[in-house]
Symmetry: D5
């Protein structure tokens, strides 16, 4: 039995060997890039057909295909926070979290941005002073409703 | 002597009494909304003229104006994470953090999105199935360079 | 300036002095019991009219009334977990959390019970072997939807 | 020797392969759904006959059957809290825990809801605005008694 | 308003000034020693008559008397664990906890010793090799019962 | 090489297979029940003859016998605290720890109950309202002595 | 009411103003240096006569004298560990702790060095390559004895 | 490849089988007892000749000999603190740490006891009231010097 | 009585009001910049003459002057780590710490860089691609020596 | 599949067997010492040619070569902090971190030293009173820029 997390490591390795980008895999599955990458790293259950398509592209075994379809325990653990590429997002939340909260309440009232009815996008935006990483977080507003 | 954090609480209170939105304050200062809100909550030092303009709008005392100009120790502490409006951003990082990392490396190479040369925007995007909170994180790419 | 948490302590004290139950206060406000208790303890912003009604019932000062209307940072901190009456709920989540997850996925698919579009009720159910505490958690299902 | 936790993973896997729902297994064992799911995931010791019945339904080996009957160390660990489906219950406790405590004391006096003499139920309640997850926590009241 | 914890410190101080032992106070209230000491330190709500009796013995103010009757948030915090007199009990639990669990299951079946329907006693037992601290923990057995 | 902890798991398993209670094993070794159970779970070094007697009763291999005689690193870790049967003892310490400390100082002066020169006993005491778990903690008083 | 810890800070300050060393105070009280310093910092209860003698030497108020006689909650908290002068002792325990354990068991059998029946001494030992801090920890051996 | 820690466990086991005390091993290597024990448990790199001598005494394999010579990551982890024999040293630091700091500053000025230019000794000192564990910590004083 | 930490906040404030840089203060005291800044923030005891000189420059009260001369408990706490300007140093240690260790052992043998016999310097080094922060850490090598 | 961390351990071992210093390896790769050591310990991805060159020098297998080229999760974990050689750097940050922050803001304005556009060097500087470890941290200044 292969755990979701192990399956994710196998996929990450297989992708390098297959010489494919995450963007190419997403395009062949007809799914968004962030969703596809997250799902293949074990954060979403995949449909049988998506898992099969990934398996063909990346030459994955049956146990990995089965693992990709399983319902995950989501979350990536504390150790991952220390990685500088990921830490910068946590730092921005430390600095701008309360401002985000104030502005969400000001524009929408009492409630939250859903992280379930949610999509995310990463873009490279050219800039003469250095290209920019632009990440869009897009979630449905949910108001506190009794 | 007023601490930055206390100054932030005084400002938040004064804003309600003055009947102003953060957006209106930002507009009068001619500064972006997220920056203005974060600065007034104590996460950025403000220039003397910005602090004075805010003081006039919100009827703040001299010690608060002084505190707003001071260099902060940035960060908002662990307790703030539990608030549901802020927690959803942490949750999305738990679920999508490794995917963000993979895609940043794929699109840019080895490096990070800067949280210093950085801007952020919160928008309300109308949607027939429920309006959406769209937050844009926009930071300069910095490559690991020895 | 009175903090939400301090306001909650003042309310709790005032309620005892006024000789009123939470149920009676909830009934006079025409709001559910759990919502009313949580709001008066500082976990929800109250409308001006609800805050005024509570103030009259409990003889609260203007600063407490103002605090009750403020948008809260929600959450009750780690120390509260140790209280035995609250701990039993955490213990039940430790024991039955994964089973809850399995059954929610089985009955609804991939998603969560909303804690925002949510209501809760506490009842005393008579039982010859000892009356029972019955707590109903009732939240809208939200499916993972990109 | 198979640990309870490993046995739980084997069972979860076997259930998918057998094409059975937790509800169907519970029905065949004649036991409540939450209890059955929790027990098969390793949170309760099972009687020899229940374990044998489960083994037949799910085609489990003798060592798994033995593990299912063993007395567990209960609890599911910190990592599980981060999963969004489980986290929402923790969040509701953060927000409503003190209100629960107040209302239990008001309706019953000084004491707790037992998590030992306890049962729990998950239901899907249809609702035109979106079906609802309704979870009932039902425990005997125990008063502080010297 | 006096917090339960502050009230406990006032009581502890007043007891020394009054030249009374906890045992004497317990005797005059007609309550067990451990219960009385814990209640006066803020871990139990006291009845109006018990609080009044304590107030007379120890010359306590009205706000302390009110605090003693209030429902507590129970628990004494992490810092207290480091005190050597208290730590030895934690150490014994570290060493003998699993053995206690095995023997409770062996003698009673699956369940727990209640910490609610519970009493405790501290005695000094003379011994030629050095007197002994004998603490009796006595709680009703509660079996896991659905 | 078998670790003490692994040896403890092997012993626990073997005991069930041998159809023996901890009490029976303790009786055959001529040792107290709590001591015997703790030692066989790896919290005390056993003498060669005790280890050999246990090995014969439980049909243990030579490496387990060797492990049972080894000097342990005592303590059972944080995870164990969450188990409800063990947690109740921690909860009672949270609630009654400071009262225990006060009464030990009152009856003995400044010092501690030894957890080294120490014995413990678990009894089932019949009670018409439900049998009781009575645990006696009995340690030599040690006074702070320079 | 003055807390033990505050009393310790007052004493530390008063000692500097009085121009006395800890060694001189210890000598006048006729007590060992480490004991005297620890007691005046709030880690031991002092006898009325010792407290009075210290009060005279250091010109302390009645509330401080009372605090010095009170039974302490011992321990100095986590923050203190970071101080380099104190940290080196923790570091030596990290490096040599298991060796200490092995040698204590080898020389004495199964048991511990008492930290209650215990004395400690700090000396400055001249050395041509740099004087040495020599700290002697001297505690009664206590064997595990049931 | 054998890790230092594993090598330490192999050595500890081999020592028992060889029927040698740590003191005897130290004597044959011509090294102090605490140093020898710590080094063989993996806290110091050993010279090739010392490692070879230990290998001959204890019949160790080549990979263990290699591991003993490797530069360690020093420290023994949090779990070890709970062992009562080791914990007493931590407790004494909790109680006497600030007094140690005061006396070191008084006798030497601003600085620390080195834990690098450092030696330690464990002795059994006979005493009619019970033999004593006497541990000498002896480190060069280092003054804060810019 | 003013604590060292409070004194540091007063100094930081007074410096801004006096319109002096840390470099100017350091120059007038004839001390290195990092040392002077750290000492005035409460991490070193200052000599009476240095404290007096600082008091004159910054118009400090007698209690602050006294606080500056007191022996500190060094360390700046966990909260400070989150500040981005300070965090980058922690991050570099996370990434390069083991490499530093390897190279120190390679160039010097088994031992450490002293943080006591230590000096540090911050420089601004012009660079056409952006000026650089260059921090030099310079400590005496101390070899492990028994 | 070999993890980066395991690859680092294999490299560290192979280097000793090959009788090469990190400095020699760095020289043959034509890369700085700290970078080379960090990269070979798994903190940087290596180019195929650098990995191949290292493989030839150190006689590494193909899976290790592949691991060295993989993008790492950077960071070295909490356990590493306890090692004395690494801890001294953390201690210096505890003592001098706020001073560093003040001086960076004074010399550059509001911003940080980059840990990405960053280089580090370790030197042995001869000194008659004992050679010195001099570590240079050199990062581009990044100003907070919206």
């Amino acid at each position: 039995m292969v755990h979701k997390q192990q399956a994710g490591e196998v996929v990450a390795q297989a992708r390098v060997r297959a010489g494919l980008t995450w963007a190419q895999i997403a395009e062949r599955l007809g799914k968004p890039e962030v969703w596809t990458t997250a799902a293949l790293l074990g954060q979403h259950p995949m449909s049988p057909s998506d898992a099969a398509a990934a398996a063909e592209l990346l030459d994955l075994g049956a146990d990995v295909v089965e693992a990709l379809q399983r319902q995950p325990y989501r979350g990536s653990g504390e150790a991952v926070v220390a990685d500088p590429t990921i830490y910068r997002f946590h730092e921005a939340l430390q600095v701008y979290g309360p401002a985000l909260k104030e502005l969400i309440h000001e524009k929408f009232g009492d409630g939250i941005m859903s992280a379930i009815n949610f999509r995310m996008q990463v873009e490279r935006v050219p800039d003469p002073e250095g290209d920019r990483v632009v990440v869009t977080w897009d979630g449905k507003f949910l108001d506190y409703r009794w």
